[in-house]
């Protein structure tokens, strides 16, 4: 049995097969495929990249090249909650650095890193486009405006509590 056929028995690859079929016949869909992969797995696992490369007949090196070019793609697992601290101009002049420093302090990680329990990932972003509320942060898809170093704790506590509730259930 060849590698491909063996692969498709793996539930992980069955998942990939499912969404790959949506992109069949669509020109230039590589980035959309990688976005979908990341939505499914939270990051781009190495074996999935190889699997996709064989399936859509694009060299794995090309996929790797695309995945490392764009800021959105990640090759390592990420936290359940991705905190993105905006360092855009309006946020910068309103003290975004202090917000970032507070997150670093409280989580004990640097931007680009994930906490050991895979709960939080800390990132910085060029602009969230909510400049009127500077300084802003985003946790997954939710935006928080007018941040202060004091509010950092409130935000983290909220997600920690959500986790505790989820664990209890």
């Amino acid at each position: 049995m060849c590698e491909c056929c063996k692969g498709s028995k793996d539930p992980k690859f069955v998942k990939v097969d499912k969404f790959l079929s949506q992109f069949e016949g669509e020109k230039g869909s590589l980035i959309s495929i990688l976005q979908q992969t990341q939505r499914e797995f939270g990051y781009l696992p190495e074996d999935v990249i190889y699997y996709i490369a064989r399936k859509i007949q694009i060299p794995a090196s090309t996929i790797y090249g695309v995945a490392t070019f764009y800021a959105q793609f990640h090759l390592k697992p990420r936290g359940k909650y991705v905190i993105r601290v905006c360092l855009g101009t309006a946020c910068h002049v309103s003290g975004a650095n202090k917000i970032l420093a507070e997150f670093e302090k409280q989580l004990g990680i640097k931007p680009g890193e994930t906490t050991e329990d895979l709960k939080f990932t800390l990132e910085t972003v060029g602009c969230l486009g909510a400049c009127g509320l500077a300084p802003t942060i985003m946790v997954n898809e939710k935006t928080y405006g007018k941040m202060t170093p004091e509010k950092v704790n409130e935000v983290l506590q909220k997600y920690n509590e959500m986790e505790t509730v989820a664990a209890a259930q």
Binding site: K27, Q35, F69, T89, A90, G126, C131, G132, L133
Partner: protein
């Protein structure tokens, strides 16, 4: 709903929608802002609470307003979740028609009172109105508010009024009537002539005349052409395109369809930043609705015109705002710019001729075709016609999204609309045009805003970010901030941009740490000019602008850092000195205990002092002081 087979089908529905609106004139409509800013401030919770109360009070049967299914709805009150209403910092915003009351900062717990007093009795709730800190006045209606009074809304006309998720709402506001006019009464060349007459220049930044760009596409005989809407908007400090895509997606689509008809193309893409999930969602919904009604697809409204539209999400790369990089990204490749010529309109997406415009450019098109090119050209200045939207942010009293006629002065924008500087601080500069732009100092506040005058002043229109900074911002640090962004976003293909900007950043870093050398300013200027001359694409060609413009207008700040080792704004940590206010100090000793180098001394219960020689300027003392007695000065 059946597909429109002819123009008449569409007009029949429009008449029905308008009749329904007219017959319910007494009906109260609550418009709650659903832009990203107001959502972040909690407008979805306000919406849910209001719906709950209205249903309980028997004022509302169905949740949504003007959808086809509930044309005959018995709702006494309708709620519309609109796009960005502009006044972001005051959100969530709520306006109530027909009274025209405009509430700011509404919370779920205010809703009982809003229903009881304003909706049922028409009374005004004083505390929810906008109280202007600059003038001390209170404003009941939106358009009396000085933030809105000086604006002219063309692109944003329906943004904040219509429900972006409802195509019926857009149709009722005469949406797609420009498309109907174009398809039924104008040939392709006439459409382009009208756009040329309007004098519209591309709102993406460089200000290339839109009509001429379209004419190039029109003349190209290729059987396959593409049209692309650039919704990448990577400029930090800008969110106009986002607001338009989120708040009035149909206007962008209608503009693209008119463009596609004019240049003779049947397929298009909207390229949206990955950081804008709501914009993606709204655009996808709008496209789906258009397809279902037959406004997108084959033989639109029974004519020969066919058009297919796709949404592509960017994946986070500032350089993809550049046209050649953007087309590569749509093709699924790394978004690296290439040498031009050939230009994109000769060889673009999949090597086919491609016309690429910005969101705001397309959103201006329907109104231009409805009201005529001459009408648009009558607004603004001779060489920069029409209006321009700005994201006014930073240290101003009233921040938000504004649209003004070209030719308005910066002073009017910042002081009349923006209400002046926050906390009565002193204005220092306004940064226009993002990382490709520059800083404009106080001496040029009376500059009329248009493409050419901004360029002369060392800035650019860019996509329209206007970030105001006050005396507390260090201009060297500010330039460093933009350069830092550029260095991170440079694609690395060409050496001047990849290496040159990095070297400039290192020099700035050195200066802000007090290690600057006398020849650094000249070195920065020379390096900057070289990068502008030699870079491959617009990113590199404009990257040194923030540095060069701050040197031009704030040379004294650079000199203070280099020669006196001082930061005049007290913003650069390495150059700041920490001092203790003896009046406030209670002598608790916390600072001395926490100082990592033992630079603080003093007796218990008596004012302490910091030894400036020993101090490493870490700021720990300021953080731990319980009485705020330590300051930077």
């Amino acid at each position: 709903m059946e597909k429109f087979k002819s123009v008449q089908d569409l007009e029949n529905l429009r008449k029905k929608l308008k009749d329904a609106l007219a017959s319910s004139k007494e009906k109260i409509t609550v418009r709650l802002c659903g832009g990203t800013g107001c959502r972040a401030s909690g407008s979805p919770d306000v919406h849910d609470e209001l719906v709950k109360i209205l249903k309980r009070e028997g004022l509302m049967d169905v949740d949504v307003s003007l959808t086809h299914e509930c044309l005959e709805s018995t709702n006494k009150v309708d709620i519309k979740m609109t796009g960005c209403q502009g006044f972001c910092a005051q959100g969530p915003l709520m306006s109530i028609a027909p009274m025209g009351v405009f509430y700011v900062g509404v919370k779920p717990e205010d809703m009982e009172e809003v229903v009881e007093k304003t909706i049922k009795k028409g009374e005004i709730i004083e505390r929810l109105l906008y109280h202007d800190p600059a003038s001390g006045k209170t404003y009941v209606k939106r358009d009396e508010n000085p933030f809105y009074a000086k604006q002219t809304r063309v692109v944003l006309k329906d943004c904040g009024t219509v429900d972006p998720a409802s195509i019926y709402d857009y149709l009722a506001e005469d949406g797609y009537s420009a498309l109907v006019k174009v398809l039924t009464s104008m040939d392709r060349k006439e459409v382009i002539d009208e756009v040329i007459k309007s004098g519209l220049r591309g709102r993406g930044g460089a200000g290339f005349p839109t009509g001429e760009k379209w004419l190039g596409g029109y003349k190209n005989p290729s059987p396959k052409k593409y049209i692309i809407c650039n919704g990448d908007e990577g400029d930090p400090g800008a969110f106009m395109d986002r607001s338009v895509m989120e708040g009035d997606p149909h206007k962008v689509i209608e503009g693209m369809m008119i463009g596609a008809y004019a240049i003779g193309c049947d397929e298009g893409y909207i390229y949206v930043r990955a950081e804008y999930p709501l914009a993606v969602q709204m655009l996808k919904k709008a496209i789906k609705d258009c397809e279902e009604l037959g406004l997108l697809g084959d033989n639109i409204l029974g004519t020969n015109f066919s058009f297919k539209l796709h949404v592509r999400e960017g994946a986070g790369a500032f350089v993809c705002g550049e046209s050649t990089a953007l087309t590569y990204s749509i093709e699924g490749k790394r978004g690296m710019p290439r040498v031009r010529p050939p230009r994109t309109n000769e060889k673009g997406l999949w090597d086919m001729p491609t016309v690429l415009n910005n969101v705001e450019t397309f959103a201006s098109i329907p109104t231009i075709l409805s009201k005529g090119g001459d009408w648009f050209a009558s607004i603004g200045t001779a060489n920069s016609t029409g209006t321009k939207t700005f994201a006014l942010t930073g240290k101003v009293n009233r921040t938000g999204l504004v649209e003004v006629p070209m030719g308005l002065t910066l002073r009017e924008l910042i002081f009349d609309i923006g209400g002046g500087i926050l906390n009565n601080k002193k204005f220092k500069a306004v940064q226009m045009g993002g990382p490709s732009g520059g800083c404009i100092p106080e001496s040029q506040l009376d500059l009329a805003i248009d493409f050419d005058s901004l360029k002369k002043a060392g800035a650019i229109m860019g996509s329209g970010g206007a970030v105001v900074v006050d005396e507390d911002t260090c201009m060297v640090d500010f330039a460093k901030f933009f350069l830092n962004f550029i260095v991170e976003e440079s694609c690395g293909k060409c050496i001047p941009c990849r290496e040159g900007n990095k070297r400039m950043l290192e020099i700035l870093q050195r200066i802000t740490e007090g290690k600057g050398k006398e020849e650094d300013i000249e070195l920065l200027e020379n390096l900057g000019k070289m990068i502008i001359d030699c870079s491959l694409c617009g990113l590199g060609k404009t990257a040194p602008n923030p540095v060069l413009s701050t040197i031009k207008h704030f040379r004294n700040e650079y000199e203070a850092h280099i020669l006196d080792k001082k930061c005049p704004a007290n913003a650069c940590t390495a150059l700041a000195s920490y001092k203790i206010d003896p009046e406030k100090c209670i002598g608790c000793g916390k600072c001395a205990k926490n100082c990592p180098v033992g630079a603080i001394s003093g007796e218990k219960k008596k004012p302490h002092v910091i030894d400036q020689e020993k101090c490493i300027r870490c700021g720990t003392c300021m953080e731990v002081c319980p009485k705020d007695a330590i300051y930077r000065g």
